[in-house]
Amino acid sequence: MSPRWKRFRRGPDHTLVVSLAPAEMDLLVGLPAELRGVFDAPAGDPGAARLFPRAYLDPTEEEAEAEYEALVQPDLLRQRLDALELVTASFDRAVEAGEWREVALTPDDVGAWLGVLNDTRLVLGTRLDVTEGELTIADDDPNAAAYRIYAWLTSLQGELVEQLLG
């Protein structure tokens, strides 16, 4: 049984095949629902705010800012919801390959996965108030589980980007 230390590999017909352990797949399967919860969050939620930031910092541009938000943010939300649907649909196609779960991702799927991974990390990272550099997580840290998920998602996204950069 070949070890899957590279989670992504090129498949036929421009697909990218992702190989995950069942527990890893279970974790990812839960992400779309979490992000939907963030999109429905009340105004002022810092995680949601990070996903829909301002375009203008200049206080004299408030009118332009309001127009930007009214025009762009519904589209941003729509794109993100579409990505969630693609990702959920891709999980439904997962096949067992020995002890692994594998999914063949089309280029559109890959874009959606990249967006969902990054958005989840943005929300989680904002909530955990992560800083740059290495995370050291004490076992008794109440956020230990969340930090570990964040670290794992970071490594998964990193591998995906490496594949895309070529």
Binding site: L51, P53, A55, V72, D119, G158, V161, L165
Partner: protein, 96 residues
Amino acid sequence: MTTAPVEIREPDVSEETTTDRPWMVIVWNDPVNLMSYVVYVFQKLFGYSRKKATKLMRQVHEEGRAAVSDGTREKCEADVARLHAHGLWATMEHDS
């Protein structure tokens, strides 16, 4: 009595008036986005070479911000929207 001659000036009907200063798009550093991901996004959205995208990413990382594109207000808003869609923290400001 005479009046001083008055120059008649044609109204400026072009889109760019003297008050239309150029805009630039700034990407800000943040602790979540991967450096490799930022490079990928710059290449994808702006068609920059790996070298240029990496240089801009380094500038964001080391200086806290970098100007990644410029142009009219409309063009810059479109660039900001695409960067926001990729989760980058981007804003726009006047060039000078």
